[in-house]
Symmetry: C2
């Protein structure tokens, strides 16, 4: 096995987990934080900033792009990445709705 049975879950559940999976690696968290913090929009600085090999960073960027949280812009020989604001905003709604569910105090069994 090793294969997640996505079919048995709702679209919403798969959507939440797909986003969360991308946040589930510290390198991708670090990349996003760097994009947020940095005034210049970045590209290959991430390699020396984070300390992983260039192909590894490239791979993480690819996954961030795949879920749409970032987008890249070619500038000469380098590529500048930034947050995809609309998709980031949508993500915020999806994740917030999930983590802000109200706990039913009447039925606490612990």
């Amino acid at each position: 096995m090793g294969l997640t049975k996505s079919e048995i879950f709702t679209d919403q559940q798969n959507e939440i987990s797909n986003i969360a999976k991308v946040f589930g690696h510290p390198a991708r968290v670090a990349i996003l934080q760097h994009i947020f913090k940095s005034n210049t929009c970045i590209c290959g600085d991430l390699v020396e900033e984070i300390g992983l090999a260039q192909p590894t960073i490239s791979q993480h960027l690819k996954e961030l792009k795949k879920v749409g949280l970032i987008k890249g812009n070619i500038e000469g020989t380098s590529v500048c990445y930034c947050i995809d604001e609309e998709n980031w905003s949508n993500m915020k709604t999806i994740i917030s709705d999930f983590i802000n569910q109200d706990i039913n105090e009447q039925n606490n069994c612990c």
Copy 2:
């Protein structure tokens, strides 16, 4: 390889990714949603509710327990799980802070 280099990241980055990793599987999202929704606190209902084998559900519950988001209470032969409110609340702060970072509009290169 296949081994995440946690040492090169901050505690905060590792903390965020560790929480997110747990949300990164639809079964665990479904389990949490079921605990939130259900009036009775649950246990083995999850198996038939979700449609994965009992050992698989048990394994997912274990990971949710490991990060502290749920706790279990033995009731006879069954175990009743519920949200660990304090840890859930802490998680909310950590994740909210991360996803609610302000986008620096002046430096959008895309």
